[in-house]
Symmetry: D3
Subunit: 244 residues, 6 copies
């Protein structure tokens, strides 16, 4: 008998979010044998491509192409598959069709866990929209009455990855993921984002801070040597048989 491969789903509002915020988690779970699938709802063509626009002679299609290329390269380095919904950004809006499209991805992927944005972000209204869309798609994919006969999904845990200004988003990490073993791959993926070079060092520092904090929460007597981390906030309670 074949054990089915474990899977995970990442829903990214713009085509670079998954790199800064969840790149370590993606690479880590890939290294553990998971098939990780990324959905980019938009390319961030309007709101997160300032450097490209400033070059001049630019069109929305050219920006999208450049962003797609970067995202594909980053996903490949991280070892994940990726698809683009191309629903537009600034503002992002999701109709019923997009919701069903994402619910269908849930059914197809059958993820063991799901990552998306924080539920609040006063700096970026596309981010909470992406998370709410993700959560509602998950709920629909769980319903027997949606496309009856298909295999429904269970109740995979959902996590918010770290927003740009965490405290302003009322985001509080309750999970610190040790990504030390895959940091090189995350940083290589980050370097694909040529249009946002100003963020490379910012997110390197985020990873180092979360690493220090992870070490603190394990205890200084631990043998575990954590250098880089990623923070996550759980939406649902965790079900377990062990509290250590």
């Amino acid at each position: 008998m074949v054990t089915p491969q474990k899977t995970a789903l990442v829903v990214s509002a713009h085509s670079a979010d998954f790199v800064w915020r969840a790149g370590g988690s993606i690479a880590l779970h890939v290294s553990q044998g998971y098939a990780v699938h990324i959905v980019c709802l938009s390319f961030g063509e309007r709101g997160e491509s300032a450097k490209l626009w400033r070059k001049g002679e630019m069109t929305e299609d050219k920006v999208k192409d450049a962003r797609r290329t970067e995202a594909l390269a980053a996903a490949e380095i991280l070892g994940a598959t990726i698809e683009f919904f191309d629903i537009g950004d600034y503002p992002m809006r999701a109709d019923r069709e997009t919701l069903f499209r994402l619910a269908d991805v849930f059914r197809r992927v059958q993820p063991s866990f799901v990552l998306s944005h924080s539920l609040k972000d006063p700096y970026n209204y596309d981010h909470p929209l992406a998370m709410n869309l993700t959560q509602e798609a998950r709920i629909i994919a769980q319903a027997e009455g949606y496309r009856p006969g298909e295999k429904i999904v269970g109740a995979p845990p959902v996590y918010s990855f770290e927003p740009h200004q965490p405290e302003q988003c009322e985001w509080r990490p309750d999970v610190l993921l040790d990504i030390t073993s895959v940091w090189d791959r995350k940083y290589a993926a980050i370097q694909c984002m040529a249009g946002q070079e100003h963020l490379w060092e910012y997110y390197t520092r985020v990873a180092l801070q979360r690493g220090v904090q992870a070490k603190r929460n394990v205890g200084i007597t631990s043998a575990r040597d954590i250098v880089y981390g990623e923070g996550y906030q759980s939406i649902f309670p965790r079900v377990t048989e062990n509290l250590a």
Copy 2:
């Protein structure tokens, strides 16, 4: 080389709290090989022994004896060791000496995780006091400068177990523990609490509700058959290498 036994620490404001609120967790981890140690700060002689007092001809010493006997019996069934600080209840007050006594327990036990009360409880001011005492004792036990030369403790996770009226205590479980395999032992321990028989069915129902909720959060497609549960709220973020 011998692997040291894993351990856990439970701090109970009154001598029956650990049974209703954490009995499943204690029995479960004992069944997994943990040495679980319980500290009862008081016997609940004033505030939680109404039935005994109504018998008449009662003294505080008689009440304490009855409560100690019940707690010892329950701890034995659960497989845990137990000690009594006897600092009084209603009101509970902890001086510096009590704080150090508990810090010393932390150092001696070196727990892998710690359980105590919720941080708020408008029905019972002893409960938050017990939790704050536990947290401050843990912090002191971590400090190199407290009894220098002794082995300090790491950063064991701390959980709040379920209070009597959870929503009024602003308690929200982020962990649901599957205690189905040890429910018989928990219910046997519950039955030691002769003085509070009105709570037996109450906490059986709590366990059944948390069991249903645990099942929901795993997903109905899961093979796992959970019947009884206990809820816990984490104080600190969890450090991990896997999000599933």
Copy 3:
């Protein structure tokens, strides 16, 4: 002079919600002479009819019929009138027309109080939508400029009834309703819900827990014998001339 009958309005996202969550309140107020009217926004045909779908040979219309029959029977037992908006579930969406339709119900019913769902529910996005729709419809029904000339509504209190996993929905009851006198009727209504038999005992336990808590909040010296309860969370402050 005839005193007009007192009335109440219950807005239920799916056709069974009003039974589990507000059945006691409905029966109790009916027994006090209130005319209670229920609006079911959908039949829960997709999201809350898993057992029916698993029977096979099922269509959405058949599911709706079965659910309508159950809801009608339950409403009759509770003594309430009921109507079905049939706007669909999973996802539920409410357009302007639905909003006005519900505002018109407010005007027609002129309720003394209103019951609907919690404002948050990460397990079910239809529930908060129903509550928000209810609140906005109430606001519109209060406005002189909406269908000018009609009798506007006052400011009836609005309550959230209990969600399935209360703490995860950030729901905190500030009212505990004693439904002991009508429990038989509520349980009879519950038994109409043949498709969700797994919830019968769950909500019986909820009623018993809320009953114990109600008794605690009255005080053990009270003569009042409360066995079954329902919890509610107020949206607006209560106006009164007595604090006891």
Copy 4:
């Protein structure tokens, strides 16, 4: 058979707090036949008697005398009994003896409801202390094991009255009391506070604002003519058989 008189207890950190914040409630319940008892923990001799101190030639005893006289006059106008614990203010501290003294008042008064300060107040640390002391005293008075044999108290509802800067104290009224019928008496009591004349108009405006808000929450179609109000925040859920 004689029905015992209904009673209420008000715990005031300083000797004028009960007037500004609960004077309407006191007069209203007295007019309904309640025996209302006030405990002033201190005279506010240090922190709330600036005008007296500025007169010069002042001693703490003279300030206390002046404040006692004012408080006695106000209590008489409101129709309540009053006692002074004289435990000092700025800072207020309550030892075990004070706690038991207040618990004994609870047992003696057997209040139907209890009023005290908000749980947070960054402008005045005595206020939260008074509320916490009140709540802990209530808990102790409920315990069979405290002074066994005495009549314990039930579970009277506890309310926070309005602090000076409500939003900064995270205080949110969930009860708006209509004090229109007794406003004259409250304003007469307010005028006893010669040392704090700058607050007379401030608290008149508070009463008018809460009156307007009360009217809004009843609905403009109501016949009820509310002019003056007081806001309260409940600590515990209310147990009832009617939601209108």
Copy 5:
């Protein structure tokens, strides 16, 4: 070289909101040389014109005309420019076109700060919608990819002005603006609102209370004589070089 004039933007859901809630701020900044521009999303023709509707023989157009006249007069007194989007109220809905229209206002005005409603208001769903629209429009106006080539906006601070029942809206002022010097102008603007005369004294009292509170937060030793105030809640952190 000419220093460009400083500017501010106020987004008002209904045509009178800006007067009650931000009139002092508008007049004050005008007196400091700012060009303040007001956008009224609707005339409040349905929901906030009860007195007009009760006159009889009224149509929506007549109500709008009356409200426009009042708002124009008030804006003139305050010294601000004003425009009307006329998107309707009760319910207010904003489509993509309205969002872009407001984003274009941001680009044109280039405001130094922005004022709109609170993010929650259970009494009025148009208010949070207006604030969310404002915030999303600001975000779009910041994006290089929206109408590329236009001058984008910086990151002007955004404030929520005071709602009618502040605590119920979870609104907490972190800024108290001293409007003493311009109170006459604010009160003159208030008097333009002939249709809502019942609110004149209500908002005078609000201004007096916020004035007293401002004085308290400066300290009684201050020379500054504050009589009237307005409260604001910041959405974003303030960037500064001085903490006094």
Copy 6:
């Protein structure tokens, strides 16, 4: 006439806290002409001197001496005066005498603003204690009845500086201070803390992240070039005449 020098007060639980968390603010205000005074409640001799204790042959006095030397050097670099209360740490406890001692510092210094710790910190119970002590001392120093005749203090704003794990402390900065111009001095002060070298880079990264965030909240179109920042959370509302 001589304008009195502006002053500020910093209350630090342990002797290094003021460096990591407020060093930039101290140096910045000193450079603006403020006299900044620091109170260190303890030396952090038990809890924050692990490296010293691990050297062996250590006593509490030796640790205190080493820490005093470091703190004096850092204060000198920053340009502030400093005093040591030496009340002990792990656990820190403040009696009435300490409270009055700090109130007397408030009266002597007459600060324009005050800095201390966050109100919550599950990793360190000394920190909230220091902040609560600071706030209560400020309140006492404001009271005419405390040491009558002395000059009382006004209402200086109080800020929480940044804790080690901000989100876990429920700390949210609402002020971002631009410390770019004094970063060199802050980093020089940091280097005095020989015993905690592992924190040097951690707090450099904190300063860089807050700098980036400050820049974002000013807007990318701003000329202002911010590199280093410090975050603060206000306890009280700010009183102002300008919102830009």
